[in-house]
């Protein structure tokens, strides 16, 4: 019974993670601008990797000769690293694109740098 519940959990986390990763790739190919693409890709990929690796942890901890502490430590390390590294990398890349005058979408309504309202 416990194995059945754990398998259901594995399938749930697996499908949610793959959904987020596919949405990230779809946004990367469909959106018009580097800033829009960055908005789609970074968030989706972070959540997707988290879901996939939680599913992998539950799946691997079910094995009869599993070292559970080892697996869970590495999984927490990977999730923490993803949640730190993805926003930092995306922020640096956005700053570099802004400095290098990366082309923006022509239907964009306003540029926040040039009309300082708020």
């Amino acid at each position: 019974m416990l194995n059945f519940i754990l398998d259901i959990l594995v399938i749930f986390f697996l499908l949610s993670g793959v959904f987020f990763m596919f949405v990230a790739a779809l946004g990367l190919i469909r959106l018009p601008d580097i800033y829009h693409r960055m908005h789609a890709a970074t968030k989706g990929v972070t959540l997707g990797i988290s879901g996939l690796i939680i599913a992998a942890a539950i799946h691997h901890a079910q094995a009869p000769d599993a070292n559970v502490v080892n697996i869970i430590t590495k999984v927490i390390l990977v999730i923490l690293f993803q949640f730190i590294a993805n926003p930092i990398g995306s922020h640096l890349l956005a700053k570099a694109a802004k400095m290098d005058d990366c082309p923006v979408w022509e239907k964009q309504l306003s540029d926040e740098e040039h009309d300082p309202i708020a």
Binding site: A41, A66, G89, A96
Partner: protein, 127 residues
């Protein structure tokens, strides 16, 4: 590649002669479908990598491609039912972060130097 995967897993199953339960079979089919979807996402990333003009855009596409590769490695570890790939995932994510930072520094370096030459007081430090 999928044929190879299925052949190797059935070979391992015949070696150990373990009867798979219904839930394990459902899980294996789910992992196969997830591998196909993640591979489709990698194909999208490659298309964006080839189509886009600007360098930062390509760097973003390469970043996303590497993270989809990490997801594929996780799924393959689940399919082969070995937990040895998690160390590889750590190394891959570290390399991915380092390469993204290096690419953004490479793109922004000439503009930072120009700002410094103009004697701007509000020099934004990139790092």
């Amino acid at each position: 590649m999928l044929n190879l995967l299925i052949a190797s897993t059935t070979h391992a199953a015949s070696q150990t002669a373990v009867e798979l339960s219904v839930m394990d079979r459902i899980l294996n089919h789910a992992i196969d479908g997830c591998i196909i979807i993640v591979a489709l996402g990698m194909l999208f990333c490659v298309i964006r990598l080839l189509k886009s003009k600007h360098l930062a855009d390509r760097a973003l596409a390469a970043d996303t491609l590497a993270i989809e590769l990490i997801g594929l490695v996780i799924l393959m570890g689940m399919r082969f039912s070995t937990s040895a790939f998690i160390d590889g995932i750590l190394v891959l994510s570290l390399l991915n972060f380092a390469s993204t930072v290096a690419m953004s520094q490479y793109i922004a370096r000439p503009h930072l130097r120009q700002k410094k030459l103009q004697g701007d007081e509000k020099l934004e430090d990139l790092a």
